[in-house]
């Protein structure tokens, strides 16, 4: 099937990263509406704003707090990601993030790391409860939605942009429809172009958001920055949410188990170790 009309594109900065939207046969207004949606939802999901919905939920730890429909869906997605990854993708990572010094937007720089206080993360289902319209984070715990929110948002945004579109939120991307020429959307993965159609991709890495020997990707088994023998993983799966979970899980599994895991869960995958540039 050939696409309808020319492809409109729009690029902007949001969620602390670069975002790109493409849609065939849609007006630029539709893409601007997409940017507005990203900014509006991002403002509610960030942990860096004290008046965000997520910060309010974390601040009220130990008691039930009213949440929006979107927050409820994303928190349930976080619980699902925890189950999918056998506990390796754990949104209750906030205390460890703060311990390693990731206390404010990365552009403002990290603060002092206090790794002595890092502890293995509790299973997410033991510290986060969600029911219709409200959620409870247990006392002493905190939620960081991070990549889970990006992947989930890329999936929803792509659906909003129409039947032939691609949404890329900081490397978490989802492509639907036949693309600009009818044979898929050309997407770069590890320096190679892959044609994606109703597929998604994401990358997990310890090379970015890194300061000294410390980085932002926490291993829930230790509560410390992950050291697994893999530095970066990119995967292609059916949805951006799934891609985010699979990429992070593979990186945390390390080079011995990641190939078999990716072969079972991804349509394409790239694994890079410390010596691979």
């Amino acid at each position: 099937m050939r696409p309808d009309g020319p492809v409109a594109s729009h690029h902007f900065e949001a969620l602390g990263t670069s975002c790109s939207l493409f849609a065939g046969g849609q007006s630029r207004t539709r893409l601007l509406e997409g940017e507005f949606w990203v900014r509006r939802l991002g403002a509610r999901l960030t942990r860096f704003s004290t008046d965000s919905e997520l910060s309010r939920l974390n601040r009220n730890a130990g008691q039930w707090t009213g949440i929006s429909d979107e927050m409820e869906v994303i928190l349930r997605a976080a619980l699902h990601a925890h189950e999918m990854s056998a506990g390796l993708v754990n949104a209750a990572v906030l205390p460890s993030m703060l311990a390693v010094g990731y206390t404010r937007p990365f552009a403002e720089g990290p603060t002092v790391a206090l790794l002595d206080g890092a502890r293995p993360l509790p299973p997410l289902r033991e510290v986060l409860e969600v029911r219709a319209g409200e959620a409870c984070v247990h006392a002493g715990c905190g939620i960081d939605l991070g990549g889970i929110a990006k992947g989930w948002m890329a999936d929803r945004l792509c659906e909003m942009l129409g039947p032939n579109a691609i949404a890329n939120l900081g490397g978490d991307l989802r492509a639907v429809g036949p693309g600009p020429a009818g044979d898929g959307w050309p997407v770069g993965v590890a320096g190679v172009t892959l044609m994606l159609r109703d597929q998604a991709a994401a990358t997990s890495s310890v090379r970015r958001r890194r300061w000294g020997e410390v980085h932002h990707l926490i291993d829930p088994r230790t509560g410390l920055p992950a050291k697994t023998g893999l530095d970066e993983v990119s995967v292609v799966t059916a949805s951006a949410f799934e891609a985010e979970v699979v990429a992070k899980t593979a990186l945390l599994l390390g080079p011995d188990f990641a190939p078999a895991y990716c072969a079972a869960h991804a349509m394409a995958w790239w694994l890079a170790g410390p010596d691979d540039d």
């Binding site: 490397g171 991307l173 590890a190 190679v192 044609m195 990358t203 790239w270 694994l271």
Partner: protein, 74 residues
């Protein structure tokens, strides 16, 4: 006598059916080189990538086209 005739008839019928089947099969051979099973669709490949190893499954196609956007760590 009757028993011998029945045995001979049964033997004749068996041998006749076997010979007829063999003649039918050899005269209707379509393609001696045909595979016994359909070939397995491309089971995946490894493409040249930036360091590391990129494995591409059969449901994803690599191309030389310039990418419109990329996945990356952010």
């Amino acid at each position: 006598m009757r028993t011998v005739l029945l045995k001979a008839a049964a033997t004749f019928l068996t041998i006749g059916a076997t010979v007829a089947s063999a003649l039918f099969v050899t005269s209707h051979l379509k393609n001696p080189a045909a595979p016994l099973q359909p070939p397995v669709v491309n089971a995946g490949s490894t493409a040249a990538a930036l360091g590391g190893t990129l494995n591409v499954g059969p449901s994803v196609q690599a191309t030389d086209v310039e990418p419109m956007t990329s996945t990356y760590a952010s």
